[in-house]
Amino acid sequence: MTETGAERPVWPGDSGQGGRGDDVAREAVLARAFVRLADTLASDFDVVDFLHGLSADSVEILRAAAAGVMLADGRGGLRLIASSDERMRLLELFELQGAQGPCLDAYSSGRTVQANAADSRARWPVFAPQACDAGFQLMCAVPLRVRTDVIGALNLFRGSDEPFTGTELAIAQAMAEMAAIGLIQERAARERNLLASQLQAALNSRVIIEQAKGMISEYLTMTVDDAFELLRNYAHYHNRRLSEVASDVVDRRIPSAALARRHGQHF
């Protein structure tokens, strides 16, 4: 078993086939993959699509048979988010169920894990035979990590027992780190946007409620305190939010007179 070996720093074309044209084509694929990995702040970003893309790209670029991504669920566990194929999906579910396997180790240690068929049987006696039955011999998992923050792991399996080269592992780690940076930024941006819109709504509703109080007090010739009382009673009676009712009042969707008409309020 190796933890990020560097035995063969040759990539691409290290299977001995292909020439310069192949290299250029692979570099283009790699470049496209990194552009996709950087693109997490688009308004229509979808985390599942994003990680399916990561799985598919890593299969193509790293000559893996299958790939899958698990993410931390916020309660210390991992959840399967994306897989390059159905075999991988079932296997990863099995890994989670059995609580042993490369992805879990990469996630808990924050380090890249690679094991050939023999190593994997020693390390994960329940999981490895299942993987072998599914047609995978070589198993690798790379943490989705930014500095000390590990948010998940990328599983890479091969049908042959040929280990990933040092260069391939370096590429896998770079892709995983890029994905992790993108996901963390996207989460932070989404959370901040949500909080900001809540704050804006709170600020706006304060203003609109005061405007509605003024408007009602003018239409119905009463004090602003009495107007507020009407507004509150109306919202309560109709089981609506005060800020929504106030907004309807200032936009004249609710005539001020309607506030006084209901449930026995007379002024």
């Binding site: 941006a189 901040r192 946007n193 909080l195 900001a196 809540q198 704050l199 804006q200 709170a202 600020l203 706006n204 304060r206 203003v207 005061e210 405007q211 509605a212 109080k213 003024g214 408007m215 009602i216 007090s217 003018e218 239409y219 602003v224 200032v250 001020s256």
Partner: protein, 236 residues
Amino acid sequence: MREDGRRTRIMAAVTGEDATAGADELVQRLCRFAVDEMALSGCALVLMSGVESASVLAVAGRHARTVTGLQMELGEGPCLHAHAYGIPVLLPDLSAESASRWPAFAAAALAAGVHAEFSLPLTVGSGGIGTLDLCRDRTGMLSDEHMADALMAADIARDAVLYQQYAPSGPGLPELLAAAGTDRIVIHQATGMIAAQLDDTIANALARLRAAAFAGGRSMYDLAQDVVERRVRFDD
């Protein structure tokens, strides 16, 4: 200086021994820090949603509250622009500004003794929640180092306000906002009354209130007070 180091240094300066300070305390100290460290005369943290609903959440030094109030009165000025467009507005010499973008604001600020004004937006995504406003009683641009500190202070203030609702201690968001000044309430109430008197929209009512105050040489607040107490009507 790396930005991580800058954030750490400013946070250390404003939290000191007391790491549990709530957002209200933190933004207050950020304003004080800005005044002391950047040779300012005043600093204010202003929350904004629509243009007409600014709340001064924290203020330190002189002038800052006045400058914000002037912009609300006039409906123009650097903090409104910075918030609306999400870009810093830097006015190192307000006397040079008097003939350009915001002549009424520049004249009023100069009369109040403010000669330079810098307004930094608290941006979130493509929008924002307000501004950090810095003012000086003399002309001159902020140094690069002070500018970088001020931008970081704006980020820290933004995060403190946004994440307040998750804070284990200190006031929640409603308390924070309730404390953020209620001096504009009478203006909002008067706006609603004028809209009813004129059978017009809120936006037009506000424009009428502002124009009448300006024409009469009065503050919007004073005129709004007269409207709410029914001494002045707009449909006469």
